[in-house]
Amino acid sequence: MNSSVSETVDQSIPKEVSEKLTMVEAVNLALDHAMADDQDVVLLGEDIGVNGGVFRATQGLRDKYGLKRVMDTPLAETLIAGISVGMATQGLKPVAEIQFMGFIFPAMEQLICHAARMRNRTRGRLTCPMVLRAPFGGGIHAPEHHSESTEALLAHIPGLRVVMPSSPVRAYGLLRAAINDPDPVIFLEPKRIYRAVKQDVSYDTAILPLDKCFTLKQGNDVTLISWGAAVKETMEAANTLQEYGASVEVIDVATIKPLDMETILTSVRKTGRCVIIHEACKSFGVGAEISAALAEEALTDLKAPVERVTGYDITMPYYRMEDHYLPKPDDIIKAALKTLSFH
């Protein structure tokens, strides 16, 4: 059985009730529907109330659900994570917003030492059904500390799930799933594509699995693997490669922890060639993990070395130079051609 979910999911929404929404609007709708469905879902974070969040992800929800369920917190990220743990252990389902991923670090102790461990250290007596949302990534000319992609730091922690959508439909379906999940989920939103495209999203949009990659394009010659905003450049590259005559498969990893290696292995065993594309730094990144797993389990199926197209191992450049850091479609095309020409 092919475990991947095809892109056709995007078209399977009943048209009469759906709306064309951007990703950030889809996030808003997912929060809205989750709150409507479950009284235990509460939102908290900085500026999420009357202001609706700095990206408007929570717009209108305070008016709809009240102050007790949409809480503007003091400016304290350690606290936001800490109270989420406290609330979750008592049966609420907090969905906390960290305003930018660059400010997630004060929350790390709570995530590592408590949220991720609570189920294990109490053998399931207390659990942490919480979601921590944060916009991440570069490309919007933001201030310093607002453009990093540090998903690998989070993916290294046992007990967490780390989810990174790349389309409005998947943002909706994965966020609904993240809120339903009985364990802590870090939900990283690629803000560069918050408003890049619109898709039909509605209450009937599928709630998606948190342990599956999504095959966005099927092909036989090379597998392109990406997640987050880099999926946009990856798809552009795939289309160009297709024009060159290559048959390209594209996988959106979507949930990087736990990693669905089954879908990735099935694809790479078929194509024998693989390029991994991510915006985060190269060394010790999620691409390294995927590459290592391919070496462990599919070495003899590989027809060429695994290529990685990533950010450099440098501090995320401030915005005048950030374009030199971000992977471009050309970089992906070159890497793909390199693997395709390897004999």
């Binding site: 509460v42 369920r69 250290r121 207390l126």
Partner: protein, 364 residues
């Protein structure tokens, strides 16, 4: 102006170091049952605590942080909580955990290196021991928020040491408790030492309680070795929290009569004179003197209690020592409600490896 002059923190004390009433006692002390229960609980807890240290010294348990000298705080706090209130303890709260009905064997199992010590139903919704300093303050704020959101009238009680008050987590939690009027009782066990760092170089604030003032909270100091003073302070704080009037910070002044943990040697940094002097203020002797003076306690009762404590501890220690190791799968089964495929593979590997080792086969 000096901090002392503009920030007055009340200090409550009823009993002298020798257990004599310093002034008129609250009416509830007429009911001897409460005081006798405090005494009995503290004696049993101290015996359990001593046994825990002994188990470590004899290689039957891992590192353990003794609560010696601090029994009054933990005991009184947890006696006054209702079962459905939520306790968020720190790691030096054995007396309170026992008061909450958590078997000593659970606590020994935990310090014996087994997570299942925090797993039994006896814990209810209480938090397990918190080892990272002050992080539990945020949990208490979250628990209290959940209670408030659901219009429940329980309270969250969180305890910590003096060192924890230096951390941002503590300040952030106090701040939230003030601004959201949360039902929390913050208990600072000021035992004068954070491992080797004495109170006087922990903070320039004249009291630790006054950190609550900056957050708009009721903030008091209490003699942490005086059960009557503690009862008054904690009872008022719980009532205030339960009636929706917000949190209280109680700085309970005590002294850590033991080492920081069994892995520590306080003689490296602490004068023996100071320790000897502190023994003169300890809570159990003080209450025993008081009870003797009131004719509520005698040698016969003391002997019976010691016997009772020994029997209980013996039973609990046996239960701890006889707890079999968990299955290998237990290491993996509680990370996610739904086991990820990659983790399942690792679990099978660990099981196979353990089986091979048991057969005297593969060693790694």
């Amino acid at each position: 102006m000096k901090a002392k002059e503009y920030c007055h923190i009340p200090y409550i004390r009823y009993l002298s170091d020798e257990g004599e009433a310093l002034h008129r006692l609250p009416a509830w002390t007429e009911n001897s049952d409460v005081l006798v229960d405090y005494y009995r609980s503290m004696v049993i807890a101290r015996a359990g605590d001593a046994k825990a240290v002994a188990l470590q010294r004899t290689g039957q348990m891992g590192t353990y942080p003794s609560a010696l000298g601090q029994e009054a705080i933990s005991t009184v706090c947890c006696s006054l909580l209702e079962k459905e209130d939520v306790l968020i303890p720190y790691y030096r709260d054995l007396p309170g955990l026992m008061k909450r009905g958590i078997p000593l064997s659970d606590v020994l199992l935990y310090w014996g290196g087994d997570e299942r010590g925090s797993a039994s139903e006896a814990w209810g919704k209480d938090f397990p021991n918190c080892v990272p300093i002050a992080t539990q303050a945020g949990h208490a704020a979250g628990v209290a928020t959940a209670l408030k959101v659901r219009h429940q009238h329980q309270v969250a009680m969180v305890s910590m040491g003096d060192g924890a008050t230096s951390k941002g987590d503590f300040t952030e939690a106090l701040n939230l408790a003030g601004v959201w009027q949360l039902p929390i009782v913050f208990i600072i066990n000021n035992n004068q030492w954070a491992i080797s760092v004495p109170r006087k170089i922990q903070s320039g604030a004249p009291t630790l309680a006054q950190k609550g003032v900056s957050a708009g909270l009721t903030s008091i100091q209490v003699d942490g070795n005086d059960v009557i003073a503690l009862h008054e302070a904690v009872n008022a704080a719980i009532k205030q929290a339960r009636s929706g009037k917000g949190a209280t910070v109680i700085e309970a002044i005590t002294y850590r009569l033991g080492d920081h943990t069994t892995a520590d040697d306080a003689s490296r940094y602490r004068e023996s004179e100071e320790l000897q002097e502190a023994w003169g203020r300890e809570p159990i002797k003080r209450l025993r003197n008081f009870l003797y003076q009131r004719g509520l306690w005698n040698e016969e009762k003391e002997q019976a209690l010691q016997k009772e404590a020994a029997a209980l501890i013996d039973k609990e220690v046996k239960r701890y020592l006889n707890t079999p190791l968990p299955e290998i799968s237990d290491l993996f089964d509680h990370h996610y409600a739904q086991m990820p495929a990659q983790l399942e593979k690792q679990k099978q590997h660990a099981i196979a490896k353990a089986e091979a080792m048991n057969m005297g086969g593969v060693h790694s």
